[in-house]
Symmetry: C2
Subunit: 206 residues, 2 copies
DNA sequence: ACGTTAACGGCATCGAGTGCCAAAATGGAA
DNA sequence: TTCCATTTTGGCACTCGATGCCGTTAACGT
């Protein structure tokens, strides 16, 4: 059941030194289990390390911080999103493309949804994680800003791309927060609605 | 020159116990001075306390955290913004009112501008402060969401008010970040432009 | 067997943040 | 003037996240 320690070395079947004692995935599993029981704040890194059977020092070789545990393979997912942007038709309006890609990016296999929900509950409700999330969101925004900048022939750091990416992220977070309060709503629907409002400049609300 | 220790007791000229050894304002001054020299990260709470001539333990009675030092009287300013929203004409469109109030809220006396710039450079560029700012932004968003909810007869936690407040905040942060890169631009102008873009649903960018 | 390589994990250290509590300072009342 | 109530101070001890250092362990190839 547990992930193979060699998960991280799929692309190098033959390797030299000592094998990793665990994997990011497995650590994530163990940690989420503890978070579920005692809460994020009351679970110490020692707890996680002990439960995973590794030393505390080793934990910090798998994750830069306790906060990072909940972010899974976020960086890899960003790469996927960047690719989706690359496949957008050039004659689709920017905000429409943005809406489509972001919504698609948030489609999950039904089996994964409860897991994703727990992850987002942590990120959006635990103060320490809310705070830390800002740093991860910056990466997300950059992907969006790159797309917008590319389309408009502007620099990534120009005002327009940054403004659009910030606004879009804000809308997504609001949608996510709303989704968490709805027991059985579809995330993609809420995101789609919210992003449509944004593209309309919220003019519908008089 | 230093603020009176009794700053915090303006409304109670006669008081009982021991006088405070310093004030939030004075601590802020001392801290900013150190941040300027050594940077935020390399300035410890001990450094600040020592420079202010108080004990480390006492520092934490003035501020909940080292991060909070840079936020000055943010909560008081939010109250002012809430009042400004209250004075808005009911027939002004929501996004227009939002734009006006937020821009006005960011007008500063020219003499304060350099100070405000340094404050925002810290908040927007130091990772630890970027992260912590999220928690303060939440308060800001609530003020905006309250206004929008009130106007639409919705709950503060409804999707629309939250979405609008998140988007508006995002735009403001983008504007602020842009302002920091421009040596002599007017913050209010940038904010006004960016908020106009938002109200237009970024439709101008095709 | 031996050397190389890579991961492990203990130890020491730093810095933020908190609970506890005695000491200091201040005004008012006896 | 002395004593009391009140309020702030600040030292001490402790927890927890995070990091540098370094010897140890486990795998592989020769």
């Amino acid at each position: 059941m547990a992930a193979e320690p060699s998960d991280r070395y799929r692309d190098r079947p033959v390797r030299r030194g000592r094998r990793p004692a665990t994997s990011k995935h497995e650590l994530e599993r163990v940690a989420f289990d503890l978070f579920e029981r005692a809460g994020f704040e009351d679970t110490t890194v020692d707890d996680i390390a002990a439960a995973a059977g590794i030393g505390r020092r080793t934990f910090f070789r798998y994750f830069d911080s306790k906060n990072d545990v909940v972010w899974g393979s976020f960086t890899e997912q960003l790469d996927a999103m960047r690719e989706q942007f690359g496949r957008c038709s050039a004659d689709q309006p920017i905000m429409a493309a943005l809406r489509e890609v972001v919504v698609n990016f948030n489609r999950f296999d039904p089996a994964e949804v409860p897991w994703h929900r727990r992850r987002m509950e942590l990120i959006l409700r635990v103060p320490a994680l809310q705070a830390h999330s800002t740093l991860r969101y910056a990466e997300w925004r950059t992907v969006v800003a790159e797309f917008v900048a590319d389309r408009l022939g502007l620099d990534v750091d120009a005002l327009i791309p940054r403004t659009v990416s910030h606004a879009t992220l804000g809308v997504c977070i609001a949608a996510y927060e709303h989704w968490l309060t709805q027991a059985d709503a579809r995330l993609t629907d809420i995101l789609d609605d919210a992003l449509a409002s944004l593209a309309g400049g919220f003019s519908d609300l008089a």
